[in-house]
């Protein structure tokens, strides 16, 4: 009897994993099947158009997404790591800390379209930036900031307190101990933070639509002050056109997006594993 119960649980857990793996397989399979006839280098090098699916591409969207993700990481990592370090190492356990912590946690749960509205009101209009890459990156920065903070805190928590004690006992100040021992020891976890932030920034559609990303862009953005289109926005734009002819183009865009996401993750994971040679 006990053995049967035991087995039933294992089967239930396996079923759970099975659902996850099957979903992923169906998702990748159906995207690839739809995209297959359209896959060609033209997708990468051609600009977008709304008249001829056989020549429509993602050139501007790819460059736009690279700009957005790069700037978002540039802004959000230092800010988020600083905030996470403060909360974890300096803030103590008082009421204010708990309030700040609750604020960060709740921020992570806010729907992304809300950040889009905030970005529109604050960066596009109040600061008068307009619908440019910088405004998009700042909006995405607010969006990924809580994830970076929380992941940083987890990374710091994973560093044993004996490391902090060792540094303090050698006459290090608190900041010297954090800067020279704790943060370096937490680097693998901080890389996880950057993976999460980049993945979020790469995949967000709604906030960029709200602040006014382009649908059709026939030039490459040169810098943060240019208007832009991003990959998920471009995919969405194509998918609003008649499905029979444009569905394949949209699916091909998803392949590009997923490809970029996976390559970024692989780089970060390889970097993390190399850093993990020194581990307690």
């Amino acid at each position: 009897m006990r053995r049967t119960t035991e087995r039933a649980y294992v089967v239930a857990f396996l079923a759970g994993i099975g659902v996850a793996v099957a979903t992923l397989a169906v998702l990748l399979g159906s995207i690839l099947a739809a995209a297959w006839p359209r896959l060609s280098w033209n997708l990468v090098f051609n600009f977008s158009n709304s008249t001829d699916p056989s020549t429509a591409g993602y050139a501007a969207a790819i460059v736009g997404t690279l700009w957005l993700v790069g700037l978002t990481l540039l802004f959000s990592l230092p800010l988020g790591i600083a905030a996470g370090t403060y909360l974890e190492e300096y803030a103590g356990h008082g009421r204010t800390t708990r309030l700040l912590q609750a604020g960060v946690t709740n921020l992570a749960g806010v729907p992304s379209v809300v950040f889009g509205l905030l970005g529109l009101a604050l960066f596009v209009r109040a600061l008068g930036l307009g619908a440019i890459i910088l405004a998009g990156a700042l909006t995405l920065t607010i969006l990924v900031f809580p994830y970076v903070v929380i992941t940083t805190q987890e990374a710091l928590r994973a560093v044993p307190s004996s490391i902090r004690d060792a540094a303090l006992a050698l006459g290090a100040t608190k900041w010297q101990s954090i800067r020279r021992q704790v943060l370096p020891a937490a680097t693998p976890g901080l890389l996880t933070a950057s993976i999460l932030a980049a993945a979020r920034a790469m995949g967000e559609t709604a906030p960029l639509l709200v602040i006014g990303a382009l649908f059709l862009q026939t030039f490459l953005p040169d810098g943060p002050e240019d208007p832009f289109v991003a990959l998920p926005v471009q995919i969405y734009a194509y998918s609003t056109l008649p499905t029979g002819t444009w569905g394949g183009v949209a699916a091909a865009g998803m392949v590009i997006l997923l490809g970029m996401l996976f390559s970024f993750n692989i780089v970060a994971i390889v970097a993390r594993n190399r850093l993990q040679r020194h581990r307690w």
Binding site: G92, H93, P160, S162, I163, R164, D165, A166, A167, L168, A169, L170, G171, A172, T173, Q176, R180, Q181, P184, A185, R277, H278, R279, W280
Partner: protein, 263 residues
């Protein structure tokens, strides 16, 4: 009993460490109750006692490592080299440079052997690369570790054995030339061979510095210590020359503990 209580404290005229009426609380719980104790210069003092008797707390109050524990509070007086450690204007960071601490579990940084040594030195001195090499080598030699690690200075310190890691931690503390070395059950995670190496090291080191060692192991106290203090429930029960304390303890409590009737 008619034997007079030991007066060995009065013979220690120029103590390296001295506490008077030292009490320590964690929140509302009192961990140490008015302890008077003197540590003779260039001697080894062992603090023994059952778990929770306050011996580690006492040790950590000497270099103010208890400051980092939330809700920890102390009263009374603690002097290192005659200077009030808790006095106004004392920087615990500078104090810890003078008073090193070795932890129960070896805690090397997750870096190379060399960087483990260099960290403390670079905190306090501006050393040229060749000077630094010299300091690192000298400290590793002093800790009897040089011959075992000289070919793997750039390897991770975490690849060393437990005993080697602990001697690395000792070398790391020696590199900044402390006057007092505190050891908090330094051998409790080590095998007998590694333990013997650390004990040999303690004999050599006491020529250069004052050593205070907390230990669970009474044989270890008997082997390495010149003086031994027995603590129980936060109080100092008895303090004497090691041989006297083990051979003719004055307090029944001490006798019961060292003969293994409780512990």
């Amino acid at each position: 009993m008619t034997v007079p209580p030991p007066t060995v404290s009065e013979d220690i005229l120029d103590p390296a460490v001295e506490s008077r009426g030292l009490s320590v609380w964690y929140g509302r719980k009192q961990a140490i109750r008015r302890v008077d104790l003197k540590m003779a210069r260039h001697d080894v003092t062992a603090i023994i006692g059952p778990s929770g008797c306050g011996k580690s707390t006492y040790l950590r109050s000497i270099n103010r490592m208890n400051d980092t524990i939330l809700g920890c509070r102390m009263e009374g007086e603690l002097r290192v080299d005659g200077e009030d450690v808790y006095g106004p204007g004392v920087d615990p960071v500078l104090l810890r440079r003078k008073v090193g601490l070795i932890f129960q579990k070896p805690n090397p940084f997750p870096k190379s052997v060399y960087k483990n040594l260099a960290f403390g030195v670079q905190l306090h001195y501006r050393a040229s690369p060749s000077d630094l090499d010299g300091v690192v080598e000298a400290a590793l030699r002093q800790a009897n570790l040089w011959d075992e690690v000289k070919d793997r200075l750039d390897d991770s310190a975490l690849g060393l054995s437990g005993g080697q890691q602990q001697r690395l931690c000792i070398a790391r503390a020696l590199a900044i030339e402390p006057e007092v070395l505190l050891m908090d059950e330094p051998c409790s995670a080590l095998d007998p061979v590694a333990t013997a190496k650390i004990e040999d090291l303690i004999f050599e080191l006491k020529k250069e510095m004052t050593i205070v060692i907390v230990t669970h192991n009474m044989q270890q106290a008997a082997r390495v210590a010149d003086y031994t203090a027995f603590m129980y429930l936060g109080r100092l029960v008895e303090f004497d020359r090691t041989r006297d304390l083990f051979e003719k303890p004055h307090e029944e409590l001490t006798e019961n503990y060292i003969t293994g009737r409780f512990g």
